[in-house]
Symmetry: C2
């Protein structure tokens, strides 16, 4: 069994969720490349990441260079900028596992479910990247600020993808940063978690909390 960890590129790694994921994966000992609009901004964020002793230092890069460098490529960009960023990284993710975390929020009504014409941002991502990229979706419902602070996260991660083996790979990554992650069906099912994010934003407002999440009940610890 190889102990070599895959290099993880985080496209939009300076955003709320992206920087939280970068922080968690770096701390867990993964080599991380933080992608941003400019290499400079990516590098600046990379310097701010706390790693564990002996872990590789995260690097910063342009989104394109990060996509080229990563073995597995996370997409953590706002829905509005998704089309052009996908276009930019498309040549660099051919044959790679792409983990889409995009939630199709449409400001200002982010607490209202407003699905894209494809019904799911993940399905839209797969269409835009073409059949060469293997898209798995997840991490939609985790509060970004909790990832970043290292607080205990009382939220399951639902993982969607058409290939169970690739879902399993991403479940392994989520577990490596202390999250419970579950097989949640084909990529098209990502709609459920994407829509749920708007519901959770609304619940945060209605119940005056800042990190509502979800747990799947009725199953043994997975």
């Amino acid at each position: 069994m190889s102990s070599a960890k895959p290099k993880l590129a985080i496209i939009g790694g300076t955003g709320a969720l992206g920087s939280g994921l970068a922080q968690c994966f770096a701390k867990a000992g993964f080599p991380v490349v933080i992608g941003s609009r400019t290499a400079e901004k990516g590098e600046e964020f990379a310097r701010g990441i706390i790693t564990s002793a002996g872990s590789p230092r995260p690097m910063g890069a342009s989104n394109e260079a990060a996509a080229t460098a990563g073995d597995i490529v996370f997409i953590a960009v706002p829905w509005a900028t998704q089309p052009q960023i996908i276009e930019a990284i498309k040549p660099h993710v051919e044959g790679k596992l792409v983990v889409d975390t995009t939630v199709p929020l449409v400001p200002p009504k982010v607490a209202r479910v407003q699905l894209p014409s494809e019904d799911s941002a993940a399905v839209a991502t797969q269409k835009r990247l073409g059949a060469g990229a293997r898209v798995v979706a997840g991490f939609h419902n985790v509060a970004a600020h909790k990832l970043k602070s290292g607080a205990a996260i009382d939220c399951d991660v639902l993982i969607f993808g058409d290939d169970p083996k690739e879902r399993e790979t991403v479940i392994g990554l989520a577990k490596a940063i202390g999250l419970r992650a579950l097989h949640a069906g084909p990529l098209a099912n990502s709609t459920a978690a994407e829509a749920l994010t708007s519901v959770l934003i609304g619940i945060n407002r209605s119940y005056k909390v800042d990190g509502a999440g979800i747990r799947i009940t009725g199953i043994a610890e997975a």
Copy 2:
């Protein structure tokens, strides 16, 4: 404070979820009318319901007569039959609170999210009934067999509707049968819970359980 309980009509009250709801509400002391294709079938089911001492006996009726009799009308019919049943009850629910529990499952792939063109069955129901009916949606994710057996239910009920006061009424009904129920935003957000039902069906299969549910975390007991 009036202790008079509203009369609840359950359209499709002989189905899996409908009969479970009928059983729970009858046991909690609500007057219940079980609607079915024929009055005979509704009456037959009504006779099988267990009530508490002093509670009114449930009645059975045709779906149309049930809708006429109910103060609040639950819709618990399969997605495929929803259009014609809605058409049939439409004249009888004008001005009433309608609680839609419909999940847009499309057999045989019921573990795959397949949304209607309106993105949500509840929004489709509201469109079909017209502005006269006040539609609130909920009870999508509760395992029907658990409602029926009276087992403890480890699942929150997300309640969707454009009017917070009407959501509150339905939250009160859910609480009356022992469920935790939450404000989950406008009717359009029902997509999240409807889609989640397919995800839960898939999780039941993947993890070999029979009643996966969801809990919202990070909020105080509501």
